[in-house]
Symmetry: C2
């Protein structure tokens, strides 16, 4: 029995652990420097929200998202991170989370939702194609870090 | 004399017009459906902020941005749109806006800032390279629209 629900502050330790698991999968654990204390502070500041999948009291998957804005379309929910613990994959849990996420986006009055996927992550790309998502390949990301 | 300042509600008509100009440049005016009324409502809901460049009472450039979250790094300011009216380009106005934007990101406690650029937009890519930005080419965008 898997429960899909809005995440709370109490879920942040599990969310933080799942982000670490995804960072390892994306070969970038050394890039993961935000602490659990950062998550608590920024969650309380209203900067992000989560949806979690829970089984027998354990969080086994999550979507982390926030409101953004498309200057062309209007309100846009952004899916920053989306992960199911590896041993629970291929059971449809990701689909349950994603469906709840899309419902949340529409409940928040969004015109669209957006996210990113690494070009070599074939299972993820296939999942999104199955959702009839548009996959755009012509945009590059720019970024500047302020960390010393 | 160019003034760089935080944008207000009164600047939204000019901001909306500049977004249209950028959409035309990106060959996508038909994709631009958010109305000025949407901008008023969503600005008042706190979903986005702007920095504008003003000369002789006219807004000639702007950056539109909002707070997002990097699960790896923490608070991340996102630059959604950034445009200088075509007849005012190559005068350093974009640099003034971008510098003010970076200062705003740091004032808001952000660890980094991120944005996107179309792979064929060479002048924009060159500008960002000059800022010592990292340009990532391995991420694809996924999106789902809820519009009927």
């Amino acid at each position: 029995m898997t429960t899909i629900r809005k995440g709370t502050r109490d879920d942040l330790p599990a969310v933080h652990a799942l982000v670490r698991e995804l960072a390892i999968y994306e070969k970038a654990e050394h890039e993961f420097i935000a602490t659990l204390e950062d998550y608590y502070a920024d969650y309380e500041a209203g900067i992000f929200q989560t949806i979690v999948a829970e089984r027998e009291g354990e969080v086994i998957g999550m979507a982390l998202y926030y409101m953004t804005y498309s200057t062309w379309k209007g309100r846009m929910l952004y899916l920053e991170d989306f992960v199911v613990r590896e041993s629970y994959r291929r059971q449809g849990i990701g689909q349950l989370i994603f469906d709840a996420y899309l419902a949340e986006a529409q409940a928040l009055g969004c015109q669209l939702t957006k996210w990113q996927v690494l070009d070599w992550n074939r299972p993820a790309v296939r999942f999104y194609e199955k959702q009839s998502a548009t996959i755009e390949k012509e945009w590059w990301n720019g970024k500047i870090s302020f960390q010393s």
